[in-house]
């Protein structure tokens, strides 16, 4: 079976996850060892993907693609889940969530995302999506003695199941009107205006928008982000977003390429609504996890703006955006993991007040990250937004660009408010000292990346210019 060599990452991931599951079952108190082995496994798969030479291939009757795009998104997914696992270990142990199933569920979720980003077929895509979201439901409510965590899990489960139902309905319409589940076949058969396809497209879009939490399907995000344990929130805010955005790009540029003028306005609306809601609603938040939820809604709005441009530059800028977004969010959550006092983790923003006196380094890195999230030059977040707006202006969507710029300014308010709290308010009791090199290292990597990005801003362009959909 010659095609198996293209499947090595997926096969290795699934088989080793089963092995880890067995280790976890038969060895007592195996959280530590399973957790470490999962981190090593992710590293190993990353190395395998990086060293293998890329061939553009389609296997399993053209339903599974291996190309630059899927490889790049797999690298992003692996890198981000690697860092998330590194920085969240202490939190998981401290909050007594150290069940060995935790890393295993994350690994299976990652497997689902692998399948999603490689899929070229509606059925395969849906199975990947279910695999990843099933893991996320369990993760959200893993702190089962905490009523907020259970609420988050239940809410996410019910709403997400509804979104999956809508998405499936859209898929069935697409299949009915195009006669195939293969993305390319669909795009070939739906070239002209066809009411059934458009209905299907709208339903699929609703499901996908829910998964990436774009307005108006964002309602679950703040509650789930706040209720879930912080380690899970960090995972939620980074890894599934990559997979969701990649799949959104794939859908828009493969099966729906012919009906661009139909989906463009929907995406423009979603983008504008997400940007505005993300920046306005975040202003009143006092909980930092809730704030990160609204911030992620806003950032998804910018990412969707790139897709809405409808050009190759557009989705490439979205990929750059999401890559930089990962780096910023990883750093931000690294800092949130450092907010511990008396053995308890703190989520209120006002508890940060005056932290620049007691924790100058942590405050400085949080400042860099927040400025970058706000898009202030010369940090990486600025370039991310810059590419998006360039692509949007190139497609002559001036309204979208102007509203985007305005909401950037609005969102700068609440990011800078945290900076003000940290630097100009009266100091509170210092946080506990941590001796966790993994968290410090991750924050350092994130900050160095964000600060030094302007030295060589075209670093992504070379990788991304090779990425074409189809």
């Amino acid at each position: 079976m010659p095609f198996l060599k293209f499947l090595i990452p997926e096969l290795l991931l699934s088989i080793s996850t089963f092995a880890l599951l067995l280790i976890g079952v038969f060895i007592k108190n195996s959280f530590e060892i399973v957790y470490r082995l999962s981190i090593i496994l992710i590293m190993l798969i990353l190395l395998i993907i990086l060293t293998s030479d890329i061939e553009n291939t389609k296997i399993f009757n053209d339903s599974f693609t291996i190309d630059n795009f899927s490889i790049y998104s797999k690298i992003l997914i692996l890198l981000s889940s690697f860092f998330i696992l590194l920085i969240s270990k202490q939190y998981i142990s401290d909050t007594k969530n150290n069940k060995f199933e935790y890393p295993i569920i994350i690994l299976l979720s990652v497997l689902g995302m692998f399948i999603m980003v490689s899929s070229n077929d509606l059925i395969l895509f849906y199975l990947g999506l279910e695999l990843q979201s099933l893991g996320l439901y369990v993760l959200a409510s893993i702190d089962r003695d905490n009523i907020k965590s259970s609420e988050a899990g239940l809410k996410y489960f019910i709403l997400s199941a509804l979104a999956s139902g809508l998405l499936l309905y859209g898929c069935s319409l697409l299949y009915g009107f195009s006669g195939s589940t293969n993305f390319e076949e669909i795009s070939r058969n739906t070239g002209n205006f066809n009411i059934g396809t458009i209905f299907g497209m709208v339903f699929v879009l609703v499901g996908l928008a829910f998964k990436v939490s774009a307005v108006p399907f964002h309602m679950w995000t703040p509650d789930v982000y706040q209720g879930a344990p912080t380690s899970v929130t960090a995972f939620f805010s980074v890894v599934p977003k990559v997979a969701g955005i990649v799949v959104l790009i794939k859908f828009m540029y493969l099966p729906f390429r012919g009906i661009l003028d139909q989906w463009q306005y929907i995406l423009v609306f979603m983008s504008i609504a997400s940007m505005i809601l993300g920046s306005v609603a975040a202003m009143a938040q006092t909980n930092i996890k809730r704030l990160m939820a609204y911030s992620s809604i806003g950032h998804i709005g910018y990412a969707i703006a790139g897709i809405a441009a409808g050009t190759e530059n557009g989705f490439q800028s979205t990929i750059v955006y999401i890559s930089i977004y990962i780096a910023m969010n990883l750093g931000a959550f690294g800092c949130i993991f450092l907010m511990r006092r008396g053995g308890k983790y703190i989520e209120e923003i006002e508890e940060l007040s005056g932290s620049s006196k007691n924790h100058p380094l942590m405050s400085l890195s949080l400042l860099i990250i927040l400025f970058s999230l706000a898009g202030i030059p010369p940090l990486a977040g600025f370039f991310a937004k810059f590419y998006i707006f360039m692509a949007v202006i190139e497609s002559e969507m001036y309204t979208l660009a102007i509203i985007g710029l305005v909401s950037t300014v609005l969102s700068a308010f609440y990011y800078i408010r945290i900076v003000k709290v940290m630097y100009f308010d009266s100091p509170k009791k210092p946080f506990e000292k941590f001796k966790n090199l993994k968290i410090y290292g991750s924050i350092l990597i994130s900050c160095v990346f964000l600060v030094s990005f302007f030295l060589y801003p075209s670093i992504f362009n070379q990788i991304i210019s090779n990425i074409v959909v189809n």
């Binding site: 399993f60 009757n61 295993i104 497997l111 199975l127 990947g128 099933l134 893993i142």
Partner: protein
């Protein structure tokens, strides 16, 4: 053709009405009844397009699963009070009339589908699935499931594994102080481990630990 359309609209109408009733009925037991009716109507639709395997699976899996669900509902809710109150007693219960209505509709559907067997020839003209007449549905599904769709089949297996793991993570609690029987310990136990021979001095007795 007309017969086909008639049966199609008949089953679809029942399916849609019962699907709506599942959502609007306030009584859980009624909702379950309607769910069963819905599944049976959809199974009939499957049988009509020539996918008899899917239809039968629908009946076995879903109606079977719903029966279990029904048991749970009955177990968790306090329905003993309402028992037989339709026939006597002041409090009226809707269970029996609803059950009767749904039961008679299912009976009607069975009559229709059995009676419709007469029109099989007209059905096969308008059949939507095209496949070799010499093979059964089950055979054909088996042919593609382990060849063309093997990856989908395997991924579904992984999804089931994950749902099992998830259910265990969310519900399993380790209880303290539960005594478990260990066969290995029991069988491996020697006489020397548990019996000790002591010479007891006269009029003093012995003190046994614990």
């Amino acid at each position: 053709m007309i017969a086909h359309a008639f049966f199609f609209y008949f089953f679809s109408l029942i399916a849609i009405i019962s699907a709506i009733m599942v959502i609007v009925s306030r009584n859980t037991v009624h909702a379950v009844f309607f769910l069963i009716l819905d599944f049976i109507s959809i199974a009939c639709l499957f049988i009509m397009i020539g996918a008899e395997f899917l239809g039968m699976m629908m009946l076995i899996v879903y109606v079977g699963a719903v029966a279990v669900l029904f048991l749970f509902v009955v177990m968790l809710m306090n329905v003993t009070e309402q028992k037989l109150s339709w026939f006597r007693g002041s409090k009226k219960s809707g269970h029996i009339p609803t059950g009767l209505v749904i039961g008679s509709v299912i009976l009607l559907e069975l009559v229709v589908i059995v009676g419709g067997w007469k029109y099989r020839d007209t059905f096969s003209e308008t059949k939507f699935l095209s496949f070799d007449e010499n093979f059964t549905n089950t055979h054909l599904i088996g042919n593609v499931m382990y060849t063309e769709y093997i990856h989908l089949f395997q991924i579904s297996g992984i999804i089931l594994l994950l749902s099992m793991v998830g259910a265990i993570v969310l519900t399993y609690r380790k209880r303290e102080g539960v005594k478990k029987q260990s066969y290995f310990k029991q069988v491996a136990r020697e006489r020397e481990d548990s019996v000790e021979l002591v010479d007891v001095e006269f009029e003093k007795g012995i003190k046994i630990d614990d």
